[in-house]
Each structure stands twice: as structure tokens, then as C-alpha cells.
């Protein structure tokens, strides 16, 4: 235990935060018991994707932006394809729309199962890593891998491969799966649903650190379905705007400690994206099975206020996408053609969809030849940076009396709660706490 003087002035530093995607650091400086600086430092090299797509056709852009992330490529493809289709007046077949939702279900399964079981659960269960967890609780890791495997299978069938899918095209898909290929997925998805329900039972019983605040939560909101590809940008403090109009309300800025641009609202406020935000704004349209599970857990309010409970939000979303996936499989009727004809036209193409980590915004301008002249890609992690830093500053006083290693671990656990994807944000994490 540290003495009084050392609890008033402390520095915490984690260089190379573990169990997050990509490379970044956390640095916290406390003086006189007051947090002077909380920084999430993103030093993974900038990747310049917004420049790389210039001069490309919309279909080429779909293949390029998928490469931004190996974990959420569908999100990048979906956001871009909706933007281009919206600009060019492309009306897709309703069955194609369903398959795109099913594809997004697959990505959420992959990403959430990875995060819940291999990245975040060890913190709650007292293990240093997923390896230690697997040695003691093999059953849990098997369950997580089984759910992830189902996500891989969905993407393989729909996207042509489990990572960096290649079938999404403006107007539809390059090719469609056969009825037989989809039918084969059903037993695995039923088992994944059972596993997701067990996941919620597990995480609902975990002791989360005490930390409550009332952040502005922001996500797409849709009147009739849990938001993935469509909806209006809404927040818990009353925002309600068109998904094309992100730039009207938010802006990006550069800070010296991050290679990722940080996003803020027009008045400079932070806001938080992700599964807790989606639940806060869309619980009413969860699949009935997921809605019942959320009600039974009694966690709806706590998820909104305590970021550590994002693990429960992901579990509920796992249930939702499994249940919806099964509905889609049951109702699917093959369309006449995999895609509709379309013609590129000049103008501004903009859209927002819900990546596993939260709202993803794309904006492109197409020139007279139908090629990209400018591009703006705003991933969820870069939008969440300011909120993460704010939460670190709010949470830090509660760990100042802990030994340095325990305090540092708690701070890392908090950062992992947001499932940051640094590779996306630089298109980020080490933790350093500097208490003086």
C-alpha cells in the first residue's frame, strides 16, 4: 500500500496496453490527488487510407477500405457501399439487404466473441491472460471460440472468406450463396445462440469495478430494427440527425499524442459509441429473445452508466445477432440477380453504419468520371478517444490508494472496456501513468 504522499502524486504508465487491437499507450499524471493529464497515446503509424482511395471507383473502394481492419472489414465495406448507393440512387433487392445484415451479424459475432472471451473476461475472472483462463476454464474459451467460429463461417459463405471479404459490390453482391450453403449454417447458429445466452449468464454474474457516470451515448437509431446498416444518428442527450450529416455536428482535430484524429461534438464535448450506446438507444428493437435476456439480467441501466459492463452489452448483442441471423436464414428467398445495375454520378456520398465498436462514418466526393476525389473515414475508436481519456480521469481517483501494479491493471481494464481498435483509429495502446 502506498503512503498518503505517494497517493497524492502518482504517475501511471502502460506502454503497450495488452489485449487490445493495435499499439498504443496510456499515460496518467496525478498531482495533489488531481488528475492533470489522462492520455491515450496512439503511435501506430498513420495509414493514409483516405488518400489511397482517391482516383478509385466505388467498387475498388469497397475492396480497399476492407483492408483497414482485419476485425471489422464488413463495417468499412458496408458504410462505403451504402454511401455510394445512396448517392447513385441504387435501390437494392430486399433479400440482398437481409444478407448484408446477416454478414454484419457474422462480423459482430467474430469481434464480440473475441473481445468478451479472449480480451476482457480474463480481467473479471482474475486471470492475467486468455491463456491462463483457458488452462483453468477451458469450457469458457471453447464457448467463445465456438461463437467466433460461427462468425467466421457466416463471413466465409457470404463474403467469400472469413477475413477481408470480397463479395460486396455496389448494387448487391458479386455472387450469392446457395440455399444449401445457408441451410448448413443453421445448426451452428442455433448452438451459437445457446452459447450467447450462456455468455450473458456468465458476464451478468461478474463483479465489475464500481464506476458510474452519465456520458453522452451516441449510436444509430432505427425505428424497427437493431441498427447496423441504417438509422439516424441519435444520442442520449437528444441529438437526432441524418446519417449523412456527421460533419454538421462533429469535427476531427489533431492532438500531439495521437496519430489518430480525435472527434468531438461542435461544442467540444466527448461522446461515447459502442454496444452500450446502441443498447441505450435501441433496446426496444432488440430481437425479442435478446430483449427478454436483457430484461432478465436487470442490467439495462447499469450498462449505460458503468463502462466496465460493456462486456454484458456485447453478450446481449451476441444474442441479438444470433437470433436475427436465424430469422434471416429462415426467411431468405434468393433474389433474381446478385446485384442491380447502377451508374456512378458525381456528388457527395456519405453514410454511417454500426461497426462492432460503434458508429463509423464515411464521406466521399465522386468526380465527373465517377471516381473518388476526396474521402473522409471516421472510425469509432478515434471518436471514442476523448471519452476514454475523460473516463480515465474520472476513474483514476478511485485507484490512487491501490498499489501501483493493481491501479495500473484497473486502468488497463477500463481501456479494454471500450474494445479500442488502434489499427482502425490510425487508419492505438501502451499505458503510462505519471503521478509525479
Amino acid at each position: 500500500m502506498q503512503g498518503t504522499e505517494t497517493t497524492l502524486d502518482r504517475d501511471y504508465a502502460v506502454r503497450g496496453i495488452t489485449r487490445v487491437e493495435g499499439e498504443g499507450s496510456l499515460r496518467l499524471r496525478v498531482r495533489g490527488g488531481v488528475v492533470e493529464a489522462a492520455r491515450l497515446e496512439i503511435f501506430e503509424a498513420p495509414r493514409y487510407f483516405e488518400r489511397l482511395v482517391v482516383g478509385r471507383t466505388p467498387d475498388e473502394v469497397l475492396d480497399i477500405v476492407a483492408r483497414i481492419c482485419g476485425i471489422c472489414p464488413v463495417a468499412y465495406q458496408m458504410t462505403a457501399v451504402h454511401a455510394f448507393e445512396d448517392l447513385c440512387g441504387v435501390v437494392i433487392d430486399p433479400e440482398v439487404r437481409r444478407l448484408r445484415r446477416l454478414m454484419y451479424c457474422g462480423e459482430w459475432l467474430q469481434s464480440h466473441a473475441l473481445h468478451v472471451y479472449l480480451l476482457h473476461a480474463p480481467d473479471f475472472l482474475g486471470y492475467a491472460s486468455a491463456i491462463d483462463l483457458a488452462q483453468d476454464r477451458r469450457d469458457l474459451v471453447e464457448r467463445g471460440l465456438a461463437i467466433k467460429r460461427m462468425g467466421n463461417q457466416l463471413l466465409t459463405v457470404l463474403g467469400g472468406r472469413a477475413i477481408h471479404p470480397v463479395t460486396v459490390r455496389v448494387g448487391g453482391f458479386s455472387h450469392l450463396p446457395s440455399r444449401d450453403q445457408l441451410d448448413v449454417l443453421r445448426p451452428g447458429l442455433e448452438a451459437a445462440l445457446a452459447g450467447a445466452l450462456e455468455t450473458l449468464e456468465l458476464v451478468a454474474g461478474l463483479a465489475a469495478p464500481t464506476f458510474e457516470r452519465e456520458p453522452a451515448l451516441l449510436a444509430l437509431r432505427h425505428p424497427t430494427e437493431y441498427p447496423m446498416n441504417e438509422g439516424r444518428i441519435a444520442s442520449t442527450d437528444g441529438l437526432d440527425i441524418d446519417p449523412r450529416h456527421w460533419n454538421d455536428v462533429f469535427h476531427e482535430e489533431q492532438v500531439p499524442w495521437s496519430h489518430a484524429l480525435q472527434a468531438r461534438s461542435a461544442n467540444g464535448d466527448a461522446y461515447l459509441l459502442g454496444p452500450a450506446a446502441r443498447l441505450a438507444l435501441n433496446a426496444a428493437v432488440l430481437h425479442p429473445i435478446a430483449r427478454e435476456a436483457l430484461d432478465r439480467s436487470g442490467l439495462a441501466d447499469a450498462i449505460r452508466r458503468n463502462p466496465f459492463l460493456s462486456i454484458a452489452a456485447r453478450a446481449i448483442e451476441l444474442i441479438d445477432v444470433c437470433a436475427e441471423g436465424l430469422d434471416i436464414l429462415a426467411a431468405y428467398r434468393a433474389p433474381d440477380a446478385p446485384r442491380v445495375a447502377w451508374r456512378a454520378q458525381p456528388g457527395v456520398a456519405a453514410w454511417s453504419t454500426e461497426a462492432p465498436r460503434g458508429l463509423l462514418f464515411h464521406r466521399y466526393t465522386l468526380d465527373e468520371s465517377g471516381r473518388v476525389a476526396t474521402a473522409q473515414i471516421v472510425p469509432p475508436t478515434s471518436q471514442n478517444q476523448v471519452a476514454i481519456e475523460r473516463d480515465l480521469a474520472l476513474f483514476a481517483p478511485s485507484v490512487l490508494d491501490l498499489p501501483q501494479d493493481q491501479a495500473t491493471h484497473r486502468l488497463e481494464q477500463l481501456v479494454r472496456s471500450y474494445d479500442p481498435c488502434i489499427s482502425c483509429a490510425t487508419h492505438f495502446l501502451d499505458v503510462e501513468v505519471d503521478a509525479g
Binding site: R47, L118, V141
Partner: protein
């Protein structure tokens, strides 16, 4: 006597500079001694990055080889590094396979070891590389190394497939 099954996982992307080493070597496999035989023997998987399930799901009794570009090795230099080496003391000095995004390579290997009871026999076949930017060209040294990488892949596949594989095709 049947050849032992070999899962050959090729990591990388053709459009990301020297990350293309793995896919290029597989394209070149038919042109090197033993390459066609090796191709006929393997269960080939091509991916943008290493998924823990690729190793966890490797069937018991099968070998697994992973072809990837790597940092920490002179550009163009080819090496075969058994999986166990990444779990042994001194692993920090080993070449770092480039294509792991979800989890670090060491974590993927240990998880596979725990979940399967044992690691599959096999390892990484890596080639030193330095530049992985989207749209970048491969350096002459790297391009010149592709046939050697392909040859090492062929030899290693045949070695892990066992005596029954030699002379097939």
C-alpha cells in the same frame, strides 16, 4: 502408407508491399522442385491475418505450416521457425511474423496448445521484409527471394508430410 496431412496457411496481401511474400511464394510453388507435389498434399488456407481458430482447428495428427513475411530478419532471408521456439526462452529474438492482428503470435500459439492439448507439429516459414504499405512495390531483394521461399515451402511441406509423400505426383 499415407502422407501426413499438412495444413498450409498463407498469410499476407498482394497489395500491401512486401506483405505479398506469402501469396507470391504460393503462386511460384509449381515452378520449384517438389512444389507441385507439395501443393497436391496440403490443405491450403490463404488469409489476411492469423486467426487463432486456424491453429486450434488444425486436426490432431496434421502438421501445420504458416507462410508469412516477417520483421526482425534481413530482407529476403528465409527461415523456418518451429512453433515451439516462439514459446521458449529467447523468443523475443526470433523473427516476428507480420500477419497477426487479433492476438499476438505467442498468444495464438499458447491458446492453440492449451485448447488442442498440444501444438500441431510445424512452424512458421518466414521471409524477412520491411515495407508493408498499401500499393507499395516489393524491393528487388524481396522479389529475388520469392523462388527461394517457394522452394523452402515445398521442401518443408514434403518433410512434414513424411516419407510417403516423397516421390508422389
Amino acid at each position: 502408407m499415407n502422407a501426413r496431412p499438412v495444413r498450409l496457411i498463407v498469410l499476407g496481401a498482394m497489395d500491401r508491399g512486401e506483405d505479398a511474400l506469402g501469396p507470391l511464394a504460393i503462386d511460384a510453388l509449381p515452378t520449384v522442385p517438389g512444389g507441385r507435389e507439395a501443393l497436391a498434399l496440403v490443405e491450403l488456407r490463404e488469409a489476411g491475418h492469423l486467426d487463432v481458430l486456424d491453429l486450434v482447428d488444425t486436426p490432431q495428427g496434421s502438421a501445420c505450416l504458416i507462410v508469412d513475411a516477417a520483421r526482425g530478419l534481413a530482407p529476403g532471408l528465409v527461415a523456418v521457425v518451429p512453433f515451439e521456439s516462439f514459446l521458449a526462452p529467447g523468443h523475443d529474438e526470433l523473427p516476428e511474423p507480420r500477419s497477426s492482428h487479433e492476438l499476438p503470435v505467442g498468444t495464438v500459439l499458447r491458446l492453440a496448445q492449451v485448447m488442442r492439448g498440444t501444438l500441431p507439429e510445424g512452424g512458421f516459414i518466414v521471409c524477412g521484409a520491411a515495407s508493408f504499405g498499401l500499393g507499395e512495390q516489393l524491393s528487388p531483394a524481396i522479389l529475388a527471394a520469392v523462388p527461394e521461399l517457394a522452394a523452402v515451402v515445398a521442401q518443408t511441406v514434403l518433410r512434414y508430410a513424411g516419407p510417403a509423400a516423397v516421390g508422389r505426383g
